[in-house]
């Protein structure tokens, strides 16, 4: 109990400090300077490996996206509330800053109001994104850009101490990547706070995800260059992610129920432990398959495996969730099963199982969903049968899986 209290206070403190800092920044906000655009673009064009591009304190406005295509470059501002790149007046380009290069570091600046994604790194190795704030300043809105921090098809990636606010898809999104650490970040007021998608070997720890629609997501989607597996989610705070879903209809994230703490969808070998996952009104943890996500079966590559397998949940501190699930099906289910003042259990599983993988009628041990978490119940909502026979299955899914090794980044990243 003591531990619970301390943690809750710490979370409140972190948020309070964040709030104070941001207020101060707003008061001293300098006027936008467009003259800087050509200078920075030229620096980016002329960059050589090993260069550090320093961006001074100030608020700089851009009408086109910026891009970097040279390996080995560092972009450095003077602090995420001091150096602000504003894309409010952007007329062209699908992101604020697009990087197509390896050995890239960006730190200590903010990217605001990009028309598309704020910071996209498309293919590269040894990527560090640190103390960067991506934000849509008019608050969470559907017309905001999709992703805040968006490395895709990258290897050996460190995302730390960033702040992502207001993305209409995910604040921090790692896609189709390998060997990734996401730590010490804060994601709030996004549809998805932090999302790991089609990625192998990711450690997601000591992040705060709050006031999103869904806090931390570990997904696999069809039709992509690789599936994903082996993500560890630990020592995070996924608290009060109850924001109404403002994602674009048609995008996968638009199907996330408001009030989702940690969501696993179709991904394999996911370990969720030692987190504080609280007050998420649909469920603190959701384990689901692509088959309950509204995708078309005609639109999936044949080899895609949409079943979440080898998911292991233990040692999390959970509570206060499930009291007001998003969506008629879950709402009806909750009332029928737990009464109008009751709540869904902490862990909600959609119940899809790959019958083809069963051996002698049961799922092989390594592919099981295992929840062995003190005080937490698990409900199988029976989505395959349209929620006909939901059942609390806490005891039947109490098992253990082999733990995953820690992700070790190469080349000294994160040391």
């Amino acid at each position: 109990m003591g531990l619970l209290k301390t943690t809750a206070c710490a979370a409140a403190l972190v948020l309070a400090i964040g709030g104070c800092a941001r207020k101060e920044a707003a008061q001293t906000e300098p006027t936008a300077d467009t003259a800087y655009q050509d200078a920075l673009m030229t620096q980016l064009l002329d960059a050589r490996p090993g260069d550090v591009i320093e961006i001074p304190e100030g608020r700089f406005s851009f009408d086109r996206s910026l891009s970097l295509a040279v390996d080995g470059v560092t972009i450095r501002g003077q602090g995420m509330d001091k150096t602000v790149l504003s894309f409010k007046d952007q007329v062209a380009g699908a992101e604020g800053l697009l990087v197509t290069a390896s050995d890239f570091t960006i730190e200590d600046l903010a990217i605001e109001d990009a028309k598309g994604d704020a910071l996209k790194v498309n293919e590269g190795e040894n990527i560090v994104i640190r103390r960067v704030r991506t934000e849509w300043t008019a608050g969470p809105k559907t017309e905001n850009g999709a992703y805040g921090i968006y490395p895709v098809q990258t290897k050996n990636v460190l995302l730390e101490s960033n702040v992502a606010i207001g993305a209409s898809d995910a604040g921090i999104y790692v896609g189709q990547s390998r060997n990734v650490i996401v730590r010490y970040n804060r994601a709030e007021k996004n549809v998805a706070g932090i999302e790991i998608e089609n990625t192998f070997d990711a450690d997601v720890y000591e992040n705060v995800a709050t006031d999103n629609t869904g806090g931390i997501l570990v997904f696999n989607m069809p039709n992509l260059s690789q599936p994903g597996a082996r993500t560890r989610v630990f020592r995070n705070q996924a608290v009060s992610n109850n924001r109404k879903n403002f994602g674009h209809p048609g995008t996968p994230v638009a199907t996330i129920p408001a009030g989702s703490g940690v969501v696993v969808n179709s991904n394999d070998q996911v370990e969720i432990f030692d987190n504080d996952i609280k007050d998420n009104k649909t469920a603190n943890i959701i384990i689901a398959s692509v088959f309950s996500s509204g995708l078309s079966k005609d639109g999936m590559n044949a080899e895609f495996d949409g079943y979440p397998e080898g998911v292991y949940v233990y040692g999390n501190r959970m509570g206060g969730g499930g009291g007001n699930p998003d969506g008629l099906d879950l709402q009806a289910l909750k009332i029928a099963k737990f009464g109008p003042t009751g709540a869904l259990p902490d862990v909600l599983w959609d119940g899809f199982v790959d019958e083809n993988k069963k051996v002698d009628g049961s799922v092989p041990a390594a592919l099981r969903i295992c929840v062995d978490n003190d005080g937490a119940d698990v409900i199988n909502v029976d989505a395959p049968n349209r929620f006909k026979s939901p059942d609390v299955v806490t005891e039947s899914v109490r098992c253990a899986l082999e733990k995953l090794p820690a992700v070790a980044l190469a080349n000294g990243l994160g040391d």
Binding site: R64, G93, G294
Partner: protein
């Protein structure tokens, strides 16, 4: 001689100030400050004149660029030729210069930023009248020893010279559509990195490459030499080696040719406008959508495919293509919208190509099915 190397040209210039080179000049390095230094074309006395050796060409179905008209030329070193390839860009020798000049018909008598939707260029014997048109920019793709390099030039107000502008520019214009509707838009000259946004067709090697100079785009009746197929003409004039007769080479439809099959027109349009990124190795391979013409009609080509990272680009619609239902197909929305974060292509347009959008909508409408 069709082509001098820069050093030789400088030498000649030093010997005689009046003896301007009469052939294009290939610069092996650097970014010459003006287009004139390449000597591909000159604009004077109301006429744009191509230097002999700067060979004009066009494409069956081109990329849409805000209704800008495009005059394309290719220049190769004396005696050298491109090697034919069936599906890829032809293999051009080092020393090749490709130019693309973007210009508009004026919507009024003089330049006010008002531009019209106009007919394609008339180049006769290497000369194009400039009356009633405005030159905006000329982009070069230059094949150097280290690879292709993109260099953007912007034409001056006097319309006499184009100057290097590596960071690009934004130019406010007003489009006058054929039916009289007008709309303001920001014409964007790309910066050098944005050139790579399309021309780095392999996002792993990130080497730049021409896009349009493939058999299937060039295989059409020549606009510049009467009565002959463009590819055959290239072969006959020594620009291309190893090519089979044009009848045996891949051929894209003209997207605007009402007599051609709807499917061929739509696929040609998606090829020209999308497949440089949406391929198996392009920057948009992150999306799982591949719009190269050989891709079978299925999820990979967008059929019933859920978007991955589209954000607002979904337009609130469920799948890329919903057969029979253009109104619920994301393709139509992304081609139609002009929101920078939502639209496709991501770069190179600020207006909607209504005629192209109609073609894609008509194509989807004609499909049977739906999504299960």
């Amino acid at each position: 001689m069709r082509l001098f190397v820069a050093s030789l040209a400088l030498l000649i210039a030093a010997c005689s100030r009046d003896a301007a080179p009469r052939a294009p000049v290939f610069h092996e390095e650097g970014y010459p400050a003006s287009l004139g230094e390449w000597n591909l074309m000159s604009a004077a006395n109301g006429v744009l004149t191509l230097t002999p050796g700067a060979n004009p060409y066009d494409l069956a179905t081109p990329l849409f660029s805000d209704y800008a008209l495009k005059l394309r030329t290719v220049t190769m070193p004396e005696g050298a030729a491109a090697a034919y390839r069936d599906d890829d860009v032809f293999d051009f020798p080092v020393g090749t210069i490709i130019s693309k000049t973007f210009y508009y018909p004026l919507a009024g008598g003089e330049w006010t930023g008002d531009v019209a939707v106009g007919p394609e260029p008339v180049v006769v014997n290497g000369a194009m009248p400039l009356k009633g048109v405005r030159l905006i920019e000329t982009r070069l793709l230059v094949h150097r020893a280290e690879g292709w390099v993109a260099i953007p030039y912007i034409w001056n107000d006097e319309q006499t010279e184009a100057l290097l502008h590596r960071t690009g520019a934004t130019k406010p214009m007003t489009l006058h559509r054929r039916d009289g509707r007008t709309e303001p838009f920001s014409y964007v000259v790309p910066n050098q990195n944005q050139c790579a946004g399309c021309h780095a067709t392999n996002n792993t090697t990130r080497k730049l490459s021409p896009i349009g100079l493939k058999a299937r785009h060039l295989n059409k009746a020549s606009t510049f030499a009467a009565g002959v197929n463009q590819l055959d003409h290239w072969a006959e004039t020594g620009l291309l080696t190893g090519a089979p007769a044009s009848a045996a080479t891949p051929r894209n439809a003209d997207w605007s040719d009402a007599a051609a099959k709807l499917d061929a027109r739509a696929r040609a349009y998606l090829d020209a406008n999308c497949s440089h990124c949406h391929s198996d190795v392009g920057p948009a391979d992150t999306s799982g959508l591949d719009l190269r013409p050989a891709i079978a009609f299925g999820p990979k080509y967008g059929v019933c495919k859920t978007p991955v990272a589209a954000g607002g680009g979904s337009g609130g619609r469920p799948f890329d293509i919903v057969p029979g239902d253009p109104g619920r197909s994301i393709f139509v929305y992304r081609l139609q919208t002009t929101k920078p974060g939502d639209m496709m292509p991501e770069l190179g347009r600020a207006t909607s190509h209504e005629e192209g959008v109609s073609l894609i909508a008509e194509w989807i409408d004609a499909m049977d099915g739906g999504c299960g």
